[in-house]
């Protein structure tokens, strides 16, 4: 028990350190402030304008628009922050050589990576809480109903981010700069959000019988199988169209959580496998 505690203590200190360091990054803080401004602007400003022009009637249309803007903001800025931080934490530390002093301490490499990964998750969670929290408050003020559906959405979005974060992190563990992993992260996110189309491409391919056609179909098939389907984590349509306190429908939350965790574990194992023998 004591030894178990010792194995997680090191990573925990590294995680806290990573989190503190992350908050110093201008890009991250910039994204965060911008997203909060957009959410704030979209909700409070429109209500201000509405009151000035149409009185206190908020139309259904307005509300939908606001929700759309905010949900989109959370996912776009959220994923940018996720990718940015997951791609840069390890390469930065190798670049500024702080890693020398850390890895020479009684910290095994899997512990080091675990600490870094945990720190990244802390940043992502904090950032989701801030954005989601602001939206939550805004929505509550507007509609006077606790928007519990939003909480579910933020919860699921985290697991979506977790997947992207873990895979980006694995790429980052092989890179010496954060450029490549950032691009990889964006690629994973974009294709992961389009896996339905990949399936479509596969289904339609092979009709002409040309080799290029079949090749594209084949690649699409592999990507469709390997890449996570990130679309499943989105509650956007439901948030926009239903009552804020409706329970989430059409999603199997426990399954999605497990789905996310499996990808995260795979990403972490891949990261460790890459980093295990890496020379710094």
């Amino acid at each position: 028990m004591k030894s178990l505690l010792d194995t997680v203590k090191g990573p925990w200190y590294i995680a806290v350190y990573t989190w503190r360091e992350g908050l110093r990054r201008k890009t991250l803080v910039g994204f965060l402030i911008l997203s909060l401004l957009v959410i704030f602007g979209a909700t409070f400003m429109t209500s201000f304008i509405n009151q000035a022009t149409v009185g206190d009637v908020t139309t259904d249309m307005d509300l939908k628009l606001i929700k759309d803007i905010c949900v989109t903001t959370i996912s776009i800025f959220g994923i940018l922050i996720t990718i940015f931080i997951s791609a840069s934490v390890v390469p930065t530390e190798i670049e500024n050589r702080v890693i020398y002093t850390v890895l020479s301490k009684p910290v095994r490499r899997f512990q080091y990576l675990f600490g870094k990964f945990l720190g990244i998750q802390l940043i992502i969670i904090m950032n989701l809480c801030l954005m989601g929290g602001l939206f939550f408050i805004a929505l509550y003020i507007k509609q006077q109903i606790l928007p519990t559906l939003l909480l579910w959405s933020v919860f699921l979005t985290y697991f979506e981010f977790l997947i992207v974060s873990a895979l980006t992190f694995a790429v980052a563990c092989a890179s010496s700069s954060s450029v490549l992993p950032t691009i990889a992260g964006l690629f994973i996110y974009i294709t992961g959000s389009l896996t339905e189309y990949l399936k479509d491409v596969y289904n339609r391919s092979g009709q002409t019988g040309e080799w290029l056609d079949s090749l594209i179909g084949y690649i699409a098939y592999i990507l469709w199988n390997v890449l996570p389907n990130l679309q499943r984590f989105s509650l956007k349509t439901q948030i926009i169209n239903s009552q804020p306190n409706d329970p989430p429908t059409d999603v199997l939350i426990p399954q999605l959580v497990i789905y996310g965790l499996i990808y995260a574990v795979c990403g972490y194992i891949l990261a460790y496998w890459i980093f295990r023998k890496r020379e710094v």
């Binding site: 203590k9 090191g10 590294i14 050589r97 020398y100 020479s104 910290v107 095994r108």
Partner: protein, 318 residues
């Protein structure tokens, strides 16, 4: 545990080849290194730029991995274990530490990684800050530290766990003479407390002052290693005469004496053997000089270093 005659750090045929670039170019940075560092000594690890000192140190710390050969620290080859790491303090080359933390926060962070917590850690932070003379700047951010202050905080973090072994990569580079002296004193004191220090350096004079043993590395090969007494023996002696008059130096030179210096009425002759010594005394007497004293002259580390490197260069070109 360890017998004091057994090396505390030992490498056997340690070899490191770096793969560089995509074209498969290779740099052979270390070749069959057999290094031995004994307990409670300061080992001066010397060598010109690019000779492989940092490579050796990184191998010892598990930051990079050997191409072949083995490393033993404190009697075990499992040098990546927490037990070994707990007993090693490391000061990397250059001073790269988290900039956004305060001096004491950095020490807290590193201390925590060693498993220190609470009061014990707090006390230890106070002790090492005192030791390296950084108490006054403990609440300041590292960003605002000068080079010397960074180096001191670096030393403090290497010492935080009170390790048995200290591995310091160029600890005094970029420091002013007073800071150097202070660091040197700290290092000697640590050695006197029984710690083992492996110090890589370019400062030969400094290394000569504090080391018990040295090793000289060149192009990845350890050219010599041994105690300073073993390595710097020399039969050279300096004879000091007084009562020198004008033209006497010329006269001595004509008679085959080697004058190394002349100050006022003093003349200094260098001799390389007993026979030369007696001849020189006779010579001095014959030109009317008065014998003041004979002092053995130890070779300096600098001379040894240069001759070792020269020899290595000649060997390579032939």
């Amino acid at each position: 545990m360890n017998n004091s005659h057994d090396p505390i750090i030992k490498t056997e045929n340690l070899t490191k080849v770096y793969d560089t670039g995509f074209r498969g170019e290779q740099v052979s940075a270390l070749k069959n290194l057999n290094l031995e560092v004994f307990p409670s000594e300061i080992f001066g690890y010397l060598g010109p730029n690019g000779s492989g000192k940092t490579t050796t140190i990184k191998l010892l710390l598990g930051l990079i991995f050997p191409t072949s050969g083995s490393i033993q620290i404190m009697g075990t080859t499992d040098i990546y274990s927490a037990y070994i790491k707990k007993n090693i303090g490391y000061l990397p080359e250059g001073s790269y530490y988290p900039d956004f933390l305060k001096g004491e926060e950095i020490l807290r962070f590193y201390g925590q990684l060693y498993g220190l917590t609470g009061k014990k850690l707090h006390k230890r932070i106070d002790e090492v800050l005192e030791l390296v003379g950084m108490k006054h700047a403990r609440k300041r951010m590292l960003k605002g530290y000068s080079k010397g202050m960074r180096q001191r905080i670096g030393l403090a973090q290497a010492l935080i766990s009170d390790p048995q072994i200290l591995i310091l990569d160029e600890p005094t580079t970029g420091l002013d003479p007073i800071a150097r002296k202070e660091i040197r004193d700290i290092l000697s004191r640590l050695r006197d407390e029984g710690k083992t220090l492996l110090i890589s350096s370019h400062e030969l004079l400094e290394v000569e002052m504090i080391s018990n043993r040295v090793g000289i590395l060149y192009e990845g090969i350890l050219r010599v290693s041994g105690t300073l007494d073993e390595l710097l023996t020399s039969k050279d002696r300096i004879i000091e005469f007084s009562n020198a008059k004008n033209g006497v130096v010329q006269e001595i030179k004509e008679k085959g004496g080697e004058v190394v210096d002349q100050i006022k009425d003093r003349v200094y002759l260098k001799v390389k053997s007993d026979e030369e010594l007696y001849n020189a005394i006779e010579l001095g007497k014959s030109v009317g000089l008065q014998l003041i004293k004979i002092t053995p002259r130890r070779e300096t580390l600098e001379e040894l270093f240069i001759s070792v490197i020269d020899l290595a260069k000649k060997e390579r070109s032939s």
